[in-house]
Point group: C2
């Protein structure tokens, strides 16, 4: 089954971000012309204004706003910093079609004027402010993190080739080592796929194992290497595969509360990105390793630390973990007090994961879904 | 200029490793048949047997051997562990054409018999033993680390497509996010390149900047992202680009003793890989950031820590750092007591690194080389 979607996504988003940044700038200029102290409003990101939205099934911001005003001397520095980031994004990145890392932006400010940011965490924070003001993610105005994850499977993407200026298509099975999820991939259009699902994989070793054993063909799957907590660009790709291509998403992670949390950030987002939409995949399914997997297959395990136990108790109470399936497994983990890495499946054999584990798992999930437990 | 090299490198190396492992196994069997306690010799890897070889310009092992004998009860466990790794590599990896991560191997041992290794560092260590016994790197018998770095530039590689069984070629400019250096890349044949040099880059941000600014075309370069200390697979790729394709290699790293050390591992190797050849590029040139760059361009810097100072003093005395150019710069660093990241060049402008820094740097290096200082 081949699926199509409208083209030129990257150009549209670029234009949107640019327009919103220009609108912000014009508003400030207008106030100056009217001889007012310029000011702007932005959504408050304090924890009291972050809630889990049952409708969109992700973390979101409430209605509380804060005003940053140049009249207030304590606001002057962050006011200026916000204007600098907005200007840099519009003039130095979007306009000439450049990208920047978070670190590049921090250093770029040093050329503009004397030491504008104390450190990178200060500039990162102002970038988040700009995201929440214009309601778009930093990737939309060409600021990318260093972190990279990898993707492999039958998906054809299309992007504008910077060297020729022409549209170019690549298929993500091109290199058996997988394709890096960088700025090009994040901004690309999805052209077509024969895949029927997405498997997100925590560790690089398991990702490589699945490529090697042709899991993409055996399970009609696109494989995404998360490399621990998935970078935001990767979470957006996963969401788009779900939304645009209609593919169900499975998270295959280590069997411990931290693996479950990695799944959960894909499904429901993180509090620190509550001001953004388009990064979550609410219907993503946690595959395991489950506590049941650990006992059923007698996998090599490690003892729960005190931190593991505390975390599991927290998850049990979390509104995002109230499905019967998750509750059951979390309770089993607490009883078992043991955890296992996904690569521990290798203790059966190198091919056990594709020959036995995944086929059984997909059947089990289908059954649980029919029973309404997932 | 297009360069060619003989094909089927991967197949040849696979056969070599396999033969050497079988020879080791046969030796043990023969001793058993002769009713002797089986034993084998291996090069000692203690620091007293590691020296810097002026001829090959890399760390190497001396002639000291150690004997691992099943007659000695303290040797029994490592003897068995060595045999397990050798068997696993030959029978479970090379024979069926599979690869394994270091972690997979650790877990695989659990299926074979009760808990053969206490932890992964024990199994990693035995893998190094097998490397030194057969004189080949673990990648040659299909064991890869998780760590990945990335490469971009006009290089066409060729490998056997596992799905079709046919030879397939890919060019590494295919994806503007760069190509992952994984098992396929490491085992590939190099077909042709128009590049005239290799630039190895420490940080992901700078790597992405150089791709975006077409540094590969502007400087006829293949760009390699090291991601900090270069993984061994990446060091081997760099060596092969130098040796097989005749390309000079430049290391573009942070301006501090740790950046210089990253360069040095590429040039002269690490003590922990002294039992291997084919990983070093003795003629690789350290580009900077130099101490001179920091003052010349008035880059944003951080104060040297005590550790930075100690390390710089160590490097000054190290036999691998006796070239006049390195000595001068190390002394300048000690006087300056300040360091700078390569991304600090962004403080001039996003394009400063390609418009000014690199062109000036290549001229400077040429001059220093003519003066015999590098």
């Amino acid at each position: 089954m081949s699926k199509q979607k409208p083209e030129n996504r990257a150009e549209k988003i670029k234009q949107q971000s640019f327009d919103k940044l220009v609108t912000l700038g014009n508003k400030i200029y207008k106030q100056l012309q009217e001889e007012k102290y310029p000011e702007f409003d932005m959504p408050s990101r304090t924890s009291s204004n972050i809630y889990y939205d049952e409708k969109t099934r992700q973390f979101s911001l409430g209605k509380k706003k804060i005003r940053r005003s140049s009249r207030n001397v304590r606001h002057l520095k962050p006011f200026l910093q916000t204007m600098f980031v907005a200007m840099f994004a519009a003039r130095d990145l979007l306009e000439p079609g450049r990208t920047s890392t978070l670190r590049d932006l921090y250093y770029s400010s040093e050329s503009a004027m004397a030491k504008m940011f104390k450190n990178q965490s200060e500039s990162d924070n102002i970038i988040t402010d700009v995201e929440s003001i214009i309601g778009m993610a930093r990737e939309d105005f060409n600021i990318f993190p260093d972190a990279r994850s990898t993707i492999y499977g039958d998906l054809t993407i299309s992007f504008k080739d910077k060297k020729t200026g022409n549209k170019r298509e690549i298929n993500l099975t091109f290199n058996p080592d997988g394709q890096t999820i960088g700025p090009t991939m994040v901004r690309s259009d999805f052209v077509k796929t024969s895949a029927k699902k997405v498997i997100c994989i925590e560790s690089g070793g398991m990702f490589q194992r699945l490529i090697e054993e042709d899991a993409d063909e055996k399970f009609d799957a696109i494989l995404v290497h998360l490399a621990g907590q998935a970078p935001r660009g990767t979470r957006r790709i996963i969401r788009r595969l779900n939304e645009e291509m209609g593919l169900p998403v499975y998270a295959f992670v280590d069997g411990d509360p931290w693996g479950i949390h990695i799944y959960n950030v894909i499904a429901a987002g993180s509090a620190s990105a509550a001001h953004l939409s388009g990064l979550t995949t609410p219907d993503a399914v946690w595959m395991g390793l489950t506590a049941t997997d650990i006992t059923r297959y007698e996998l090599p395990t490690d003892q729960f630390t005190k931190g593991d136990t505390t975390r599991t108790v927290q998850l049990l109470r979390d509104p995002r973990y109230q499905k019967p399936y998750l509750q059951e497994e979390l309770k089993k983990f607490l009883k078992l007090k043991r955890k296992a890495e996904q690569q521990s499946l290798t203790s059966k054999s190198l091919t056990f994961v594709v020959d036995e584990y995944l086929p059984a798992k997909f059947k089990e999930i289908e059954k649980l879904q029919k029973a309404g437990k997932i």
